[in-house]
């Protein structure tokens, strides 16, 4: 796994994962929920941000199988673009689902994992009831 190099604009994501929280930034000026993060709000110009806990529920908007990794001993991973129920999208991994069972728009929910000391937020399959 390629580790992130957190910046002042995205450190909250990794700090949140370490606490078991999926976070997004919300503009303190106008309330815009922003992902990917930016230091200045494009809607109002504010540079003040708060973090908001997301429900961690969403659907698989698109997906691929990542083979030929930069570290050859890594197993193939399913990479997903998650459509979160708050209306933003986020790139993550889908775990615990065989490749043949991955479907667009399937409901997923965040779970947390650790890899070489780094906490990160992959997703797993959710039942329709759980994501409703």
């Amino acid at each position: 796994m390629i580790p992130p190099r957190p910046t002042p604009d995205d450190a909250y994501l990794w700090e949140g994962a370490a606490e078991g929280r999926l976070l997004a930034r919300e503009c303190a000026g106008c309330g815009t929920l922003q992902h990917p993060p930016t230091p200045m709000c494009g809607a109002c110009g504010s540079t003040e941000w708060t973090v908001r806990d997301l429900s961690g529920r969403g659907t698989v908007h698109s997906w691929i199988v990542s083979r030929h990794p930069s570290r050859p001993d890594e197993a193939p991973r399913v990479v997903i673009l998650v459509q979160l129920e708050e209306g933003i999208r986020m790139v993550s991994n889908l775990v615990g689902v065989p490749i043949d069972d991955v479907r667009n728009d399937m409901p997923v929910r965040v779970c947390f994992a650790e890899y070489e000391g780094l906490a990160f937020p992959p997703f797993e399959a959710a039942t329709s009831e759980a994501s409703a």
Binding site: T7, L13, H61, S66, P69, S70, I99, F120, P122
Partner: protein
């Protein structure tokens, strides 16, 4: 009418396209630049402007020293990688139209196969935005792009075989082009389907552009100066970039609808509006394809077919010579070479001069679309 109509392309030059040039990137740049100046019937001392990519390793002074260009009053570099290929012409045209320079040479040269290979997996985060993508396994351009393409495949019901039908056409065009790496080597759909997965279930090997060594250069000047040049001139009818706020360079995850290519939609509106042209006026479309699905998005963005209809448009033969909109008549970046999209520009010029290996009869207007920049070229 666009101000860039006050600009013309009067010379093109290139090295051979190979997998191992055996010489420096600077030598490739110098060879291509000198060839383009010669093609225009000009001298190095006539050049007073230079344009290349931000990613080019060949700095302007080194090229001047090698080619023998004594003085340059204007330089610029285009943003991003191949997505900015057509922006080089926009920059050069803006310079000559405004009077900032009179003779501008655009160049791009690299050893992208024998030197630094863009398609190899990264081993560390290369930019802050990649913090959100690379840790999850998106470590190559092929993977980054594929996570965008897969939604399009799902919504419009495509399989990888649909992309293969584009590749077969590109390789058919390349097979007839002695400049092309795959000259004389057409493929069948079965060959495409037998190539290995690069990103399952989106891209096979034969959906990916080549890795090539080579250089390309183009001379842009004023219409007045063009009348004195050796080659038939080509007018820059319209030129634009397409930068949108929710966009990113290697992927398209955050726009509201990712089954479209909003940057290309924007370019299309700008170009058709400035040139006073419609899709039916375009005789040849040169479309940047680092990966075959990008052609599908851009065929739809430029209105050659409706949304989701690119697979049928291609299957019906409409992108071949004789079809409604012949595409990538040099074989494109899959079939001819990957010179960061610049080889598609010189094929556009050749079509308008009547010099293409796969000539479209009486071509008057060529679109050269590079994703995040595009130009319409017109016979002079």
């Amino acid at each position: 009418m666009s101000v860039v109509r006050r600009a013309a392309i009067v010379g093109v030059g290139q090295t051979e396209f190979s997998k191992s040039s055996g010489r420096s990137e600077l030598q490739l740049a110098c060879e291509a630049v000198r060839a383009a100046i010669t093609d225009a019937g000009l001298q190095p001392s006539d050049v007073d402007g230079l344009v290349t990519f931000v990613q080019d390793t060949n700095d302007e002074l080194a090229v001047m020293r090698g080619v023998g260009i004594p003085e340059v009053r204007w330089t610029s570099r285009t943003p991003f990688g191949g997505g900015g290929a057509s922006a080089t012409i926009e920059h050069a045209a803006a310079a000559v139209a405004s009077g900032a320079a009179e003779v501008v040479v655009v160049y791009r040269a690299f050893n992208e196969r024998s030197g630094h290979r863009f398609g190899q997996p990264g081993s560390q985060v290369s930019a802050p935005i990649m913090n959100l993508h690379m840790p999850f396994g998106l470590d190559t351009p092929a993977k980054m792009y594929s996570l965008w393409f897969q939604r399009y495949m799902h919504v419009y019901g495509l399989t990888n075989e649909d992309f293969g039908r584009y590749t077969v056409v590109a390789r058919k065009h390349a097979a007839n082009n002695p400049n092309a790496w795959f000259f004389g080597k057409p493929i069948t759909l079965a060959d495409h389907q037998a190539s290995r997965w690069i990103v399952e279930p989106i891209l096979r090997l034969l959906d990916c552009c080549q890795e090539s060594d080579g250089g390309v250069a183009i001379v842009v000047t004023t219409p007045e100066r063009a009348r004195d040049c050796a080659s038939a001139s080509v007018v820059v009818s319209a030129a634009t970039q397409g930068n949108t706020m929710s966009g990113e360079v290697l992927f398209n995850y955050y726009h509201d609808d990712i089954t479209t290519f909003p940057e290309a939609d924007y370019c299309a509106a700008q170009l058709y509006g400035d040139a006073g042209l419609a899709p039916a006026d375009i005789d040849v479309a040169m479309i940047y394809e680092n990966f075959s699905p990008v052609v599908f998005y851009q065929l739809e963005a430029y209105g050659f077919c409706g949304r989701g209809e690119a697979k049928d448009f291609i299957a019906d033969g409409q992108i071949e010579v004789g079809g409604a909109t012949p595409v990538n008549t040099n074989g494109g970046l899959l079939g001819e070479a990957y010179i960061h999209g610049m080889n598609n520009l010189i094929e556009g010029v050749r079509q308008l001069r009547g010099e293409s290996c796969n000539q479209v009869p009486d071509a008057q207007h060529v679109l050269v679309a590079a994703g995040r920049s595009a130009v319409i070229l017109e016979r002079g």
